[in-house]
Symmetry: D2
Subunit: 180 residues, 4 copies
């Protein structure tokens, strides 16, 4: 073991094109001062990617902007269709946390042969103390590094799509067999 900087090192993964598919969720809510409530307007993702100083090629796609509690099977099929249509092999899906595991199950069981990482936030990006930026960075890393499959990435951890649930009482994700 020498300190020779030209020594062979296993190559870092090549920078891979990433597609971010936005579906809304807590992550992307903003405060509407007139209505006096958290709702959706435009996605914060373009501003966030600039703030994160990302030089990776990123394609951004707003698939829908809704609360995941309002998602129907049709909405989930729309996410699956977007993942299937994407030319990229690395995909991050920004999703509400309440039904993230369900949509991940729909996408994961389709076995698209891509690395698809679901993430979201417990506190909106636009609110003090948000976990959105950390989670996005975590997911953008994981989608480049993990084998092709579908995952949920929250709380600094990554879970297989069929082994995860949201613990709604504690507001964290944990390993669990998928609901029958």
């Amino acid at each position: 073991m020498t300190s020779d900087p030209t020594a062979a090192a296993p190559a870092a993964p090549a920078a891979r094109s990433v597609r971010i598919i936005v579906t809304g969720g807590t992550f992307d809510k903003h405060y509407d001062a007139i209505k006096g409530e958290l709702t959706f307007k435009d996605s914060h993702l373009p501003a966030i990617l600039e703030q994160a100083r990302v030089t990776l090629p990123v394609a951004l796609e707003v698939n829908q902007l809704i609360d995941s509690l309002h998602m129907t099977d049709e909405h989930r099929q729309g996410v699956l269709a977007a993942c299937r249509a994407a030319p990229e092999e690395c995909i991050v899906v920004i999703h509400g946390t309440d039904t993230m595991a369900q949509t991940a199950q729909v996408v994961g069981s389709a076995a698209l042969g891509k690395t698809i990482v679901f993430t979201g936030a417990m506190i909106p990006f636009s609110v003090q103390g948000s976990d959105a930026l950390f989670n996005l960075g975590f997911a953008v890393g994981m989608t480049q590094a993990l084998a092709a499959d579908t995952y949920v990435a929250m709380n600094g951890r990554v879970f297989a799509w069929n082994k995860v649930r949201k613990n709604k009482q504690d507001g964290i994700f944990e390993a669990a067999d998928a609901a029958a």
Copy 2:
């Protein structure tokens, strides 16, 4: 290909203990209102990990709190020693960007057999528009997912320790052969 949620999926990486070694850098600067300048006091990492809602086992170690422009060889040896002493196999080093590549080279060429990911920030966590949270999330993901080696993770990309430099004019990291 079925939609059976019990179908075998490649396991997600098991949650692994991560050690975060703090060295200071732009990431951790705070504004001293009396002195009227950005300097170091306590690390923001404990508050950041809480904000990120991380449930992963994380050991936090403040190795030093300095501007990486002020780092000497002795400081870099201190980082290497901390990486060597760490019981964890997954390590994130928070480091100033200006000499991150040099310290990564010192650590990487020692070939410790651990996954060591250097990251930092171009704008302090405590300043509007910071990339710190994104970068930390990205690095915490990469350290769990990559093969044992030393890396620099910035701008949404990961670089091998001997193939990276900071482009100081543009403020971004890019692939490059290490300086001879």
Copy 3:
């Protein structure tokens, strides 16, 4: 008038003790990550006064923590009672904007002989882009400077309690005769 710094200048108003009466409103809402909604927990005022580096003697009183749309006559009488009981002559009332004018009318028509300034926020203190800090500073200034009476202070302007309404369409306060 010379440039002699010892020349007599009209004295600035002496620092006066100020009481801040908190009633909740948008100003003080925080995001409950478990419930996924904006609600009330503790008031942000203690942290805000520290952030504002206020050296003025300030008494802080949490009268209630509710959305002003849910205020009843009884709640407004509670605000009036708190203003009456306060030993200070300078009072700031933090109040939801939707019925701020109504409560100001209840307090103003009681003619307590104190300078009582209502303010609030269109965007919570805890949300990006909030007007809360500006409005609080504005109100803390006005309560020290204005003659004894009751006022609404929003949008950088101050209105007499019986000459103001909220324009809910535009989300601003404007001069108007009080509703009959």
Copy 4:
């Protein structure tokens, strides 16, 4: 005194046009990610006034953008000239705290017959925990409410221009006879 909302109340001060004269100071510093330091670029005031939802007529004038420690007599004469030339009777001067009292003395001793309120910030607007918004709101209120003269408004208090100094050890303003 009855609860009749049409009862005569002392009129609130009419909304008055305010001129904000920007000179830089800590208030307006931003972080230059390439240089790695706090410096000046554009003033944050246009964005701040929008955030504060100010409907008052405000004229904004960038007189200079420098650290007040670098101000010379010539710079202070420039501030005085701007105050003199302003058509408004209500002026807020955003100024570095270190020599705010000196410039206020130059302007105050000129006795322009206008209400001129100096303010600034101990922590930049662009940094977490800033007092800038509170101080600006406070000053915008005071300039409309106080008699014509020159004042320093910081820490929730207002001081006559010839009775104030910055206590640099504690980082607060306090009443004091002007230096001889």
